[in-house]
């Protein structure tokens, strides 16, 4: 849960080096090329390389919805149920789970942005782009 002094996980996990273009922070293993998100901090899950062999990089928060479902019951921080959650195939081939706008379905082209919720927490939410309409 975010506080005044701590950035939200969504902000920690993303970067906006180019204004208006959000990207996910990832690591790329210098040994076997495995891309990891969340960025790997302990060791490559395929080959075990660690430390500076895990190179920080970024993947644009742009992709395609694989599947989306409506969550009807939820207790805890973040959005109030019902909300939509999806598997998103990023254009770089990385697959993540994230919040999506309601009504987004399989095959939709989406782009992520940071969205504040009523409870003060901040989340990455993917919305359909014009390309996918």
């Amino acid at each position: 849960m975010s506080t005044e002094n701590a950035p939200s996980p969504a902000r920690t996990l993303t970067t906006e080096d180019t204004p208006g273009s959000l990207a996910l922070r990832v690591t790329r293993c210098a040994e076997d090329g495995l891309i990891a998100f969340p960025p790997e901090q302990f060791g490559c899950q395929r080959c075990g390389a660690h430390g500076d062999r895990l190179v920080p990089t970024a993947v644009p928060a742009i992709g395609t919805v694989v599947d989306a479902v409506t969550v009807h019951r939820h207790r805890g921080p973040g959005p109030e149920a019902p909300f939509s959650l999806a598997t998103v195939d990023l254009d770089d081939g990385l697959i993540v789970r994230a919040l999506v706008d309601g009504g987004v379905v399989h095959g939709a082209a989406v782009e992520g942005s940071l969205v504040p919720m009523a409870d003060g927490t901040e989340w990455l939410v993917f919305a359909q782009t014009e390309k996918g309409i």
Binding site: P9, A10, P38, Q45, D67, V71, I95, V96, R97
Partner: protein
Amino acid sequence: MPETQRRVYVVGVGIHPYRAPSPTPYVQLGLTAVRGALADAGLRWTDVESAYVGSALIGAAIGQPMLRHLGATGIPVAQVENASASGSTAVRQAYLDIQAGAADVSIAVGVDKPAMRSDGYRESGTVDLVDGLVNPATHFALLAEEYLRTSGATPAALARVAAKNHANGLRNPAAQRREAIDVTAILAEPPIAGVLTKHQCCPVGEGAAAVILASEDAIARLGIDPSRAVRIAASVARSEEVYAPGVFPDAELTKVTTSVALTEAGISVADLDVVEVHDAFSIEELVYIEAIGLSGPGRAAADVLAGDYDIGGRCAVSASGGLQSMGHPVGPTGVGQVVEITTQLRGEAGERQQPGARVGLAHMLGIGTVCIEHVLVRDDA
């Protein structure tokens, strides 16, 4: 199996019915199952040479505060935590003790109460985009969405799995959710996540299960009835690897584990008469039926609708009621699967008996992810 490894048999089973959480101490739950297993085997506690306690939710060091009430004999006692596969892993540890000759009689006990405060993932230092938002129902609702989209199956197939398992559980006195409910009623329930409704999601409560394993030497020496001994033909444990993006890890892990287990047991998938799977959510049963190889890719929904996996069908799947009806108290769940298959292979399952059952497989997953499978065979049938 190398010649030096000994054969291992299930000789006693016991269970404390699964149910909603109550004030009853876990000690009482566990002792009920252990005493049941001892009585079933015709053994005394002093015959047992090692004990493994599978539990994930209560906390540390629950074995001896429970087992000492059987008379503290000084045997090795270890608690096994492996998430949902804690009980299955306890069975495997007992199996390994017998197989290696470290003990002639060993017991695996699963016991739990839903008291967990945290888990390894939460404490691992890793955060992601959906922390706290993706509970298991949502995780499996996404899998269900993918399965329905790619196989052409309808939500009715998922509901048919749940209806079958609840019909089976209605005939199991140890089941937590003994409710008659049909496909129409299941589909009419308010959704929890995606297409998954209440009766397609397992209840997590409390309970206990115990199995006593023994060597051939012990069966002869202790006068155990060999006609009720069921051989463990394979005990296999595997953990998740890095798979291609988009692959559902639990299914891939199940495929690998099953392949090793069937080879170790020297059987083919067509030999299986009874199978218990990690059906915490209806979609899981369809996915694992295919991963085990009982149905071809994309065929499980049609085969379930055709009744292939009903009691009396070609292979009874979740004859106990499965996790959806019998319940998923976590620690006991994997042990309870072995109790069910042993009971089925003995021909003692009463009104939920699969006719002619002689080969069974217990499949359990634990988040992380690990997969444990046991193949049980009745040799004299």
